[in-house]
Symmetry: D2
Subunit: 339 residues, 4 copies
């Protein structure tokens, strides 16, 4: 693969995230084209492929991965389908960008880790897109540069305006807090060692049966402590904030208020309603960086191990939701591939 | 006591806080004068009285309280001396503004509560000055007005640049977090029901033996949850922040940045180094409100019960520091005097 | 006059500002009492004096100034009445706090300056209360300390929600921009040398005949330039901002946002509707400082010369409104009394 | 030209801006490739073309424009060379993205306008990249949506840390304020009618002979007024701010402070030192939008007329710098092509 060749990507899954990645690869990203789209709903696959020159619709991922013009795979199918596609990609030694979660649980994630370790080189980048957000990147650079000394605590807020039907407490951990789990691991360069969940009085705006909000406490292998407010029916918008507290200072992101308006007795501005708006740049940058690295024959970004470690911490988190107690995270030994 | 008469105040204790109250009563507050100052160090008492017309220096609080020109008492002596002076004041039915803590522990605070209850009317205002801070008052008004719905969580930060020699972990609760304990009770109108303390890795900037910072979790009788970062050697200044999270919104104080400066590649401003600067208005307002109410024959503000309940929560907090477990707060029955 | 004696103050004029000063002296300020109130409306004077122990109501300022318990004078009557009261006070050598403007025009203000110069010592403090606002004081300290280098420009915003009936374009200069005129002179330590006024399209929210907003350009004797947006029907509240631009940095005040609220898709907070709320501390501090200085036998703060120089700049400003051209400010020679 | 074909772009000029556009087209932009680079310095052209598959280096723009794989032209050569290349492009009916200024003066810009008008359809997009900045776009949307009522004034700040050698006062208008001139025209949908320049005392940090800072006043055809602080040796960084004042509110951009850091007695963050950092997204978006529109057969964005009108306003601005007086902007009649 040379820098000059355009990367032919197969997009697996054409739901909300998949369709957005198709659009992104087709119209935003440099150096890539959508060579194939796969959906078990053949009509939906055809609609996604329509209007894209040289794009073929498939209902079977394996068939798409075998196509000669497919150089790489972007997995955006439902989580239970990820493992099979990942193993197919390994069999063909194809580079993969896999939407988070890597797989639905730690056991299957560990199988993927072991398979990639057997392959002997990295092929998977996991879609923890916050690592490509300009604000997170500035915070990471500050921490790595020692600007506030050794980090001791993180204070995190993760708020959604409202949940869709069927949203469960487990999803608060697996779909939402998983981002803070990965961000904590990445910002601090430490594993999550234990998780505790506290549940204050339930918001009357939360659906019946959903204990919302919650406070999730993450203890790391290096002794740092992250507290995460997860509030998925906060009512006012989508908001992600993170304050790092170090030995010599603190630093906060998530208050970027680009447009300040004074009207009718109020100063302020609008809160985005959606993660798409808040993290648009991060999603674009994540895929661009993956395409560029892939064209240059490299794999970088969040690893399969990151996907596995996040899954293990999420499992401790959902246990902690149920037990009310502090739950330890048990990790397998880290293969040498992941440094 | 009529509105028109100037209130003659005896100030007990002329250390840092006491001397500042003498200055405040003499030069800032309307309607009061310093009639007496008391310090067991007679020379220090004389120095404090010097230059104030009609002010007498005493070494004995009881003698000062008996003076005919003393209408009210401001207690700023070390905590162990508070109880005796409070009981003396009750014996003479004198109004008291008592610096926090009311007394050093819950048992003695309960004795004061019971003594005042026997008196049958309130005489004590406890010096939880944050209740007079303009920002806290605006937050309280917002919560009481339902502006963000029922409050569910508080996120609190309490940071000091550095500790003086001899500062202990217990003092992190009793001298520092006690303010968040009172603020939580006051903002939410609920008692503290349980306390848990988590200790991340110790800052290398903290003195030997001091586990700094800590995260203190306060659960209230109404099911709300407050997390308090206490970091008394943060290095960069004095900073108090509070974010309330309600069913329909959130609200934050502590970021008021009056002067924004751009210089040499940086935007920003100065952080106060001291609680005196941050809460100057609150201290002035607290004493002015006490003087005005006293002249009008009323007692208002934080009660002896507030002092007792804070002491009980602090005791649970120091137990939680030692045990690492969740510690329940046990409260006596609240006398009818305190509503 | 010793520090210990309580200052007996005669308040001249009991309209909105006068009544507020009566309340302030009676209930907020240390070391002063309202000994007399004066209003040509005798009933209003009596109402203002009611409930204040030892306060006498007068309809004649001269009579009040002759009362033996009057030690000092606070003038809050309509501007045309100021000159006579000031001269009466000079005749009795009484200290005066005179609400701005000193007098209605530069000629009469110069007569006051000359009369005080003949007296040979300062007796007048003029009520430019912004000099006592904590934010302006911090900006002044920054400039004086060289924190942003030599100041070259000021960008000022002065906005009122709406004008009362009868508000004229001249009042935009004389009642509103006069504060920026004084602030510019004080912050920079320079006189205003010329004024130009530009009028953009009139807001349809402004009353018929009022050219609102306007941009007022002040050139100083030292070559600095201040631009002032004056918008007295901005609709959304009361807002005063000032950015100083120096050779090495810039600094801005007026954005202090103490309480940040997230609700219903919006972040932000409330804008005060009134100068009383925005400058409450400044008014209190102004009067307290005047009382304290007066009790110590000193006169400080804005001088009669400051009142005159502001009046001269205002006259140039109203000429500039009419002419559309740059109008020079002509100042008399400054008496040695004013340094 | 179909959506599917990759756009072959000839980049004219490989200086700082040109080289950055080559990188952008090669690595950031979707749907385009660099087919040709042109520089009169043949070695520099070859270096720019190196490593890009299928990219040919030229020293002659006309030759490049004749190449069969060149579908569109991006002009980033020195301004005096623009007109000839634009006319060449018109002769071949090639779409052009032309870096600002369109040409060095209004007369030559008008010739380009007339040539495009004769062509009968738009072929030129001018590189006023602020129109693609997310903050400016939000401000524009707010104004267009009537969120603050009819706009009456703009307050603009445009600051550079320091000027390179040879920077002249005319360049303060032609290279810097030209952005505010275009932004004012675009935000308000009005022409600039007159320009006045005021010069405060010169900063001692400015190079000998450069009157820096200056205040530029722009009056529009609709009666709005924009004041622009231009300060090209402000010392502290690159800063662009704009506040729009409307009949019912105001709105400000340029304060987006993504990362807030507390350290060593200071809160705040870093100021970018360079327009590349501040407007990176705008540059990317500008070129992506041009590529996408061109592939779809459309021309959009800032027009040749916008380039001409800005040039005419700049000429009035430099006249105003010299005369100290208000200078009117004289515009030719607008061809029907530009609506």
């Amino acid at each position: 693969m040379t820098q000059q060749g355009t990367l032919g990507v197969a997009v697996i899954g054409t739901g909300r995230m998949g369709a957005d990645h198709v659009r992104r690869l087709d119209r935003v990203i440099s150096g890539a084209r959508v060579a194939a789209v796969v959906d078990i709903d053949g009509d939906r696959a055809k609609r996604a492929a329509g209007g894209i020159d040289g794009c073929t619709a498939y209902t079977d991922a394996a068939a798409a991965l075998s196509a000669p013009d497919v150089d790489a795979v972007l997995i955006a199918s439902p989580a239970p389908a990820h493992e099979a596609t990942l193993l197919e990609a390994f069999a063909r030694d194809l580079p993969v960008l896999c939407e988070k979660p890597l797989t639905p649980d730690a056991a299957s994630a560990l199988r993927v880790v072991e398979a990639e370790a057997r392959l002997g080189h990295r092929r998977v980048q996991v879609g923890f897109m916050r690592r490509y957000d300009p604000e997170y990147l500035r915070l990471k650079a500050l921490l790595d540069g020692g600007g506030i000394g050794r980090p001791l605590m993180l204070h995190c807020r993760h708020r959604n305006a409202a949940t869709p039907p069927g949203f469960t407490e487990q999803m608060m951990i697996n779909d939402s807090v998983v981002h803070e789990i990965d961000a904590t691991r990445w910002l601090l360069g430490q594993e999550i060692a234990a998780v505790t969940v506290l549940k204050p009085a339930r918001s009357s705006a939360a659906p019946e049966g959903l204990g919302d909000p919650q406070l999730v406490l993450l203890e790391t292998s290096g002794g740092a402590l992250a507290d995460v407010e997860i509030f998925v029916n906060c009512g006012f918008g989508y908001q992600v904030q993170c304050e790092a507290v170090g030995e010599r200072g603190s630093a906060r992101i998530g208050d970027a208020h680009g447009l300040l308006v004074n009207t009718a007795g109020r100063w302020g501005g609008e809160i985005p309603q959606d993660f798409v708006e808040r993290f648009r740049t991060a999603y674009d940058e994540q895929v661009q960086r993956w395409v560029t690295a892939t064209r240059e024959g490299r794999t970088e970004g969040p690893t399969a191990w990151d996907g596995y470690a996040a899954a293990a911490a999420c499992e401790a988190g959902t246990r902690a939701q149920a037990s009310g107690a502090r739950e330890r995270v048990m990790l397998a030994e880290r293969p040498r591939l992941y440094g």
